[in-house]
Symmetry: D2
Subunit: 478 residues, 4 copies
């Protein structure tokens, strides 16, 4: 066996299925051996007492997205990918967002230009379709799928993004024919507007109004509607950022019926509640995201979903704004009503420690399930497998070395994202990323960036194996 560029030795290698003491040998940016002993490497990392995990993949992040007049997202591709790497991630999947009236291809090119040459780690773009014209559905989308943009997101709310039921059905139909994986933001537009106007008429304009304007029933109804449309068209869907019991139970019901309905949840739904939006002054604005965090009972429901396999993905839905900034949460209109507070919270850097601590350290889930939820399944669902998502010969050398015993307190001061706050200020965790290896390069180690070259690539992805009709193999196999 030839020599290695890098060996990670003495650690405990964890995959979605297995936990073994083994060395890992890396050459040319890829893993080439997992063995009892890997010798003859140019460089060695001692991982004794530590876990060797597939690098985190965060398949739901928003970076440098156009957020409307006067609002600026707090991260560009440089800062977002640095923050991601510092948080134990080796790949992120942001969105290339079509604006109504614009070309989808144009959007992809614009976002690609923003990303290229800026990223510390690999990125793979999902599309956002907001204007499904015949041209978009008939020409652009199929062509982009062939180019490796194999998943897209649709919205059931937001003025600039909402699709009608008919548009959803037409888009689902194209996804079925082309084998694209559809991500669905499930909240009902009309219901939110109805509630928002009622609240504003009643003078309830503080940030907590955001949570009151989109109660669980609004998310549940949209989830049921999306599931029904998917059932009618016979296409799989991924319902993203499920926040509470009502929507979770719709997903569980659909899965029990044998429908190909998949779901994602996020750290905010196991740690925050609507009460956080009710903090004094405008502090609540820091927690405004959609869907909003719910209550303790919904947190229990989300854990049920995580433990019982209802959820396949655990993402951050990183959507960063600055708080004390006229282009952020406290923009002038945002102060006048919750409806103008930009929706979203930063989370790209804290996702892994939060799930590890609340899940693995607290005894709710196994290490293997942690890896599956944070890395393997992201690769499998979004066409990056068997290139990313595990530690085995042939995979990209995307690895996070993790200290399961380390206790830390999350503090904005120590984070690297572009926001000026974190919703988890003061949150205590057990388990912390120590070293991040991306494509065989050690990019972050014990608190410091050690290789800052923007070598991250914009990835072409395969079709999702989950987006193929029943009767063909539903998951990655030989």
């Amino acid at each position: 066996m030839p020599a290695f560029d890098l060996a990670i030795r003495g650690g405990t290698v964890v995959t979605a299925a297995d936990t073994v003491r083994a060395d890992v040998g890396i050459r040319d940016g890829r893993i080439v051996a997992v063995a009892e002993r890997v010798e003859g490497a140019s460089r060695e990392i001692d991982a004794s007492g530590l876990l060797v995990l597939p690098g985190g993949i965060d398949s739901h992040v928003h970076i440098a997205q156009d957020s409307g007049p006067g609002i600026t997202m707090a991260d560009d591709f440089a800062s977002a990918t640095r923050a991601a790497a510092a948080g134990g991630n080796t790949c992120v999947m942001p969105f290339a967002m079509q604006k109504k009236g614009e070309s989808l291809r144009g959007a992809v090119e614009a976002y690609r230009r923003l990303a290229e040459g800026q990223c510390l780690i690999d990125v793979g773009f999902h599309l956002i379709i907001s204007d499904p014209t015949p041209e978009v559905l008939g020409q652009e989308l199929p062509a982009l799928l062939k180019d490796g943009f194999t998943s897209f997101k649709v919205f059931m709310t937001y003025d600039d993004l909402v699709l009608s039921d008919r548009q959803l059905l037409d888009v689902f139909d194209v996804a079925r024919q082309e084998g694209a994986l559809v991500m669905v933001h499930a909240e009902g537009y009309d219901a939110i507007r109805y509630m928002t106007e009622r609240l504003e008429r009643a003078g309830r304009t503080a940030p907590i109004g955001h949570a009151l304007s989109r109660p669980e029933v609004v998310e549940r109804e949209a989830a049921h509607r999306a599931i029904s449309h998917a059932e009618l068209v016979d296409v799989p869907i991924m319902i993203v950022h499920v926040s509470g019991r009502e929507a979770m139970e719709q997903v569980r019901w659909a899965q029990a019926r044998g429908l190909k309905v998949y779901a994602e949840t996020c750290p905010q739904y196991i740690t925050l509640t609507a009460e956080d939006l009710d903090r004094v002054d405008m502090e609540g604005a820091k927690y405004v995201c959609s869907p909003p965090p719910r209550d303790q009972e919904s947190q229990r429901a989300i854990w049920e979903g995580i433990e019982q396999g209802v959820f396949q993905l655990f993402s951050s839905d990183h959507c960063p704004f600055r708080y004390d900034d006229p282009k952020g949460k406290l923009n002038p209109r945002g102060r006048s009503s919750f409806r103008w507070v930009p929706n979203g919270i930063p989370g790209i850097e804290t996702r892994l420690p939060i799930l590890f601590s609340e899940g693995v350290s607290a005894g709710r889930i196994s290490l293997n399930r942690f890896v599956e939820l944070t890395s393997t399944n992201h690769a499998k669902f979004y066409g990056l497998y068997p290139r990313k998502g595990s530690i085995a010969p042939g995979f990209d050398a995307d690895i996070t070395i993790w200290d399961p015993a380390r206790r830390e307190t999350i503090r904005q001061d120590a984070l690297h994202h572009g926001s000026d706050y974190t919703p988890w200020e003061g949150f205590e965790v057990t388990g912390w990323p120590v070293t991040t290896v991306a494509g065989g390069r050690v990019v972050f180690d014990r608190g410091r960036f050690v290789d800052e070259a923007p070598a991250g690539r914009v990835l072409q992805r395969d079709l999702s194996p989950y987006a193929v009709p029943r009767g063909r193999a539903p998951a990655p196999s030989a």
Copy 2:
């Protein structure tokens, strides 16, 4: 890296999570490397175009068990382990059955004596507790658990084995305290007797009466009862050989409530139906097993459970009798009434091809789920992990090389078990085991036994990680 005793090269290695092209290096009976290239082995196997799977573990088989006066089980440990190996298995878990009035320790020693020096592959005994005296529960069972017999089965039916509810509760209580994993045969004794007597009074004594005497509601009731007792005591249970929709839905209901209820199913419940018991003359006796096969709707339900994660294990419940034999199915009393037909069918050799063909080849489950259901989870649930159940450094070199494309027709003529028939005579499958490697030894290769030394061990097993109270890690982790 030093040399290897054996290398399996060029194949596709499959674990419960991953599918990768890799070589496997073996030394001293254990796997030491999974790498792009493993060179320097004393012996090489070319696995090009084939799958390299963790050897099948069949955690539910009956071998050489006392089956009552005049009846003889068709397999001893030699024939059973040979048949298992020919069918792609590298480990089986039979039962050491206590008889009422006897010592549990004595039963273990007796069965161990039958096994030692006879087995081609490793075996691990579960206990069967039929007489939970204070001595058994207070002394023998805890001691046997310490000796590595860490799981036991209890019966809710059968004259010689049935435990009362109070006995079940007391046994569960000991399991909770000691960390043993309880397997439950869930069918209601009184209901079966009530139905049996009704049928006999009506002259319905043919083999189909067996199915009529234990309809789904009988299994459902017992499953609910076992679940409730487990909930009361707060102990995990494994409900074995779930046969139909009703019991499956009880398990799913319990899991959705967060109870630690696990379940196993078997090939007979996805391929056979009660109509098989209604074949002419006494042919139906060939299919008499408990619970009985159901109908098409229940087959669909069992597939739902397999696909949706309700089931963790897929075993054979191999319980072999000869058909045309006065000590087998056609014993004199068995001809007079279904109630005397010995319960059980042979299946140790056909389990893997049936699930592979109906599951993987038919597109219902992934290769990884196949491995999980037939090997990894058996090791994890029954305390053999991380020693068995995967292909990674440190694991026993228990490997099955599999041809996913090979089409075969199951025929008694080609099988190696002790029965004189197979319930799957003429059943066509796609996918077949080619070579079985047990503890680093090639024991079966392309239809022939190539190493017949009875080197299989009686295993000591660790406590099941699934049999620990909530709040501690629920699954194997570092």
Copy 3:
């Protein structure tokens, strides 16, 4: 006790709760006594061996409605109320349909003019709101509620009637404030259009296409959406003409959660199937109604709902067109595609015998439940109680004398409605109406009209006791 105008003697009086042998004494159009013996009446009817039932109330009929260019509904108020009376009914509730751009008040006046002086029995109009302008919601609707038009229907489909989700929410909001009862036609417009276009592109234009274009999932989704909107607004709703298992189970689920969701079903959903739409040539057009009849499994589900109390109302959804008529089913465009076949079937005269025969005579429901489903609950839900819906002192003398043993075969020849066919041609029933007494007048007796004076009134109705917020009495009481 003074004398009576009419006495019905010797029969068995049935209410929603009780079944007793009693005489009924009538004076001035109202019931004044139910007693062992009622003597001294000007006229007596001998009801020996017969049932004396509250006259049928059919709260879902369409009469003389504008049905689009070139299409004419087959019944006017004279023919519809005559047919209703011949079928054992003493009150019907048609719709005053607002057209988009028109005034709601104007619609009411127009329909009232069509009805007044034409009706053999009493009629009470529901409103149909198709254009919920601020004027309609803020002025007209509240005023009309005060005038006794206390219920209205909204549509989730049909080009000319469909409301958007926002309109539904706004209309529900007004209903909540004003105490109106909302009836919902739950089928999803966009999904139907999507399917219709797919079918037409595939050349599937025969009448069966109607059923294929609105499968159960389309009704289920709309039902869930309506339930969710009602939950958000906190208003009760009545989901009309539930056709199959999927929608029925949504209603049952909502009821089990404590939501005030009520439901109606119709004869077509327990007797017809989609196969009827697939009859040769254009025969299938005779069965085109919305939602379409489903299959045997859905018929079982509807019976479950009837027996278990999921449904409160059993109506006809009488919506009559002629078949062999260029202004009816076989209009020129209707021959070219199912989408132009007018939706609806005649059923005003056959509702009661069908439910009696399939329900009471077949042993599925009690006589009392029959009365509740066909009369009492219609009065209670729509503000006619305690004026109509039972046989007790003070109620209108609206009575049907019924022969439970009479066997009849339904034949178009013997019916009185305006259609030229009945979907139940040749259907055999046990149980048949003998005499209809409306407001104390014997109007129909043993096959002949005996009092043809158009004395039926347009009723002012009270607010529905079911349309009041939780915390106030949910049902009629002192």
Copy 4:
């Protein structure tokens, strides 16, 4: 129309379906007219402003039952029927309890002797079968059914009463053949004993131990088991005194599947909780009954069941013991452990005001549902209909005149039962019985007994219409 013995004038007559202003005319102990005006009566009662209800029927009371050595039940037939009448009841159904080893017929004769000549109102005995010998099942039970004892109760717990599963099945089988209605006390004997011994070992012997020894899962398991046995045998059952969410949901699940499973609940399960058993000193003993009261969540579940029709009956399960009495709750052994505290609480006199106040006055149920739950359904289920349970010609003149507005506080001082306490001491209610008419006699009026003659009869009852096989009419009809 001839004259009447008694007329009740000016009130609002309520049945299970209707609410009407009417007079009621009575002759020879039966109702003969319900009319706008009833004149010419020998005696008149002015019911202006009051409700005229069918007299309460309490189908679940224990009177003068053998309660084991040293324990005496606090009511004999004289005191129990007086208390019942004072509480608005006109009929009660106690039990004739077979003791193991004794004859069932003998038990009936013994209890009948205790009752005859002692009762102020009518009584109808259920049987309790504790020893289902072939003689009992084959001879005595069929004969007693013919004699009008058409329902019986079986126990799944209690040392002296518990039946094995096989005995339950055999008894159910006889019920199916003979058309008897089976009442089931659903709590699991072995589970209770297991818990009781655990608690006693832990020194937890105070009354709260009673609740801890039979948690909801114990009731749920037994309910599921009873339902399954009934499904296997195909016989209807009535599960009595359902106490909490878990058992309620089993009943709802069974009903949704179309099984003929009926259920009863009681005042203690909507007003008391397990915390009442935890009162200081031995006060908790006053609340010891089986199943024990649960918690707020279970109270909500019981209300769901009442409102949604899961429950058909609301009874008291009156089972009276004195508290401060060596033959009652505080017997010497009872002080030493909860297991010796006699199970049961007095409630015969307070059932109607509690349900009226918490149900009708609080707006949860209608007046009609109140009548159905407390009178009509008891008559219908237990073969007393159309003799009792409504106000209509031909029915026994069993009537309660009720003041819906009267506010009272329940106090032991004002009650007439034999216990020395009431669990509802200080409980405030709105709605109170004013006058009780039994068989046409005014027996209790405005707080005083006005006719104390023990004219109550021991009733022969018809077979229950609910205990007939599917396919025949399920409810009372002509």
